[in-house]
């Protein structure tokens, strides 16, 4: 299914971040990050606000341009200005905190726009893919609705479907449930659980510690722009090695 032609086909990592630094003016938000996500792995990134976790995620599909370092996505260095970033982005699904559905388009058109413009799928093909992905997030009946008429949870599920319709190799989630009313969080997490059990490579920035514990293969704790802790959920969440991690977990519980 059109994986990126990799420089190194044996590359087992979907995402391989090396020495990543990101500075906004004088503020250094990421201060040398080394970080890997294997194919099929689900990694949750936790950390206090301002720790740089969203910036890290946004660097991976170059919504933020790294100051220095390497970010290999399927072997292509997206930190390199010569990378064909539009092509790499078609392989990376992105889900935002604020959903960012296109409000002037129906659910169907939200899902088919990029399929047709970017992947050059025919309209019948794109519609068929849209149907299947909406089925997968449990919203097949909303295909002709407009975003404004959906609940927050439904909007976020449509946003997930929009990303999935591109048949990406991996999915990035930037605090996908933080903008939702508490009673709507469950339906979105359920969809994400489904994706994880289907073997999707996922990197999730989240405050949902319970989700991280149940679903993640690995949990990464980020603070002040560095990776403080990186390991299995039980290890990072239950027996953290660092004082900073312990303090953070006490606060969010």
């Amino acid at each position: 299914m059109g994986a990126i032609e990799t420089g190194n086909p044996g590359d087992q990592y979907a995402i391989d971040v090396r020495g990543l630094r990101k500075r906004f003016g004088t503020l250094e938000v990421l201060r040398g990050i080394d970080f890997r996500v294997a194919r099929g792995e689900v990694v949750c990134v936790i950390g206090p606000s301002g720790s740089g976790k969203s910036t890290l995620l946004r660097c991976i599909n170059r919504l933020e341009v790294p100051t220095s370092g390497q970010i290999l996505v399927g072997g292509v260095d997206v930190a390199d200005a010569d990378a064909d970033i539009d092509h790499v982005r078609t392989r990376i699904g992105m889900v935002f905190q604020a959903f960012n559905l296109f409000p002037h388009l129906s659910v169907l058109d939200n899902l088919t726009l990029a399929q047709r413009r970017v992947l050059k799928r025919t309209r019948p093909d794109a519609v068929e893919v849209a149907r299947q992905t909406l089925e997968r997030v449990g919203l097949a009946d909303k295909i002709s609705a407009y975003p404004a008429h959906l609940s927050g949870g439904q909007q976020q599920r449509v946003a997930i479907a929009r990303a999935l319709a591109m048949h990406p190799d991996m999915m990035l989630f930037d605090e996908p449930t933080s903008a939702l009313d508490p009673e709507l969080v469950g339906e979105v997490l359920a969809v994400m659980r489904g994706l994880a059990s289907d073997g999707m490579t996922m990197m999730v920035v989240t405050h949902e510690i319970g989700f991280a514990r149940d679903v993640a293969d690995r949990v990464v704790f980020l603070d002040e722009g560095v990776v403080v802790e990186d390991g299995a959920p039980s290890q990072v969440l239950d027996t953290p090695q660092h004082e900073r991690t312990r303090r953070f977990l006490q606060r969010v519980r």
């Binding site: 919504l63 982005r89 559905l101 409000p103 002037h104 970017v118």
Partner: protein, 259 residues
Amino acid sequence: MTRRQRQRLIRGGLYAAFVLAVVVVAAVADGERIAQFFFDVDIARQMFPDVLIVAARNTLLYTALAFSFGLAFGLVLALMRLSRVGPYRWFATVYIEVFRGLPALLTIFLVGFGIPLAFRVEWHVLTRITLGLGLVAAAYMAETLRAGIEGVPTGQMEAARSLGMSHGQAMASVVLPQGLRLVIPPMTNELVLLIKDTSLLFVLGTTPITKELTKFGRDLLSQTASPTPLIVVGLVYLLITVPMTQLVAVLERRNRRSR
């Protein structure tokens, strides 16, 4: 006197003052003379159908030409102002400041006579009209369109780019459709202003078939020595502009409700 009684008294006084003013105006005004000069039915009747099929038609044609040109060029200017390329931004900024700062009449003279004189070009009258009004309209519309584009949340561009769309694709199919919707009310106001500005075009010289409403009315004023033609063309203007401003009000109300 209670507070409520005093309020009632004040309101009653305001009503009385208004009625008194109407009565005084009615008593002082010479109704017969007004009817004779401003509402001369015979003169008004002679103006038809030309006031509609020639004058109003020309007003609408000139407006449509200038608006189309202004919209297209204004969009280019708006995108230039938002460009990452410095010189594009500077050019657009200077252009907008210059043409918003000059009287429209001066621009019409410059385009209508100055350029043809300097470069010895024979511009068709419609070209001169389109450019004379359109160059100024573009400057105003560029600022409105830029505000519309900037009014679309940045998350929209990011979502589109994350799906692999190029900047141009994202602009054309995600940002612009939303930005244009935001500016429908102010753009309709631009249109109304443009309709009225067509009255300046007489300075380019007219033939009987190129007269717009104001010139048409003025010529009849001197022929008939009656202001009735001005009243008639005024009513035709209102017939065009009032529905538009009302439409804007409806759109604005609907916009506010859908948010």
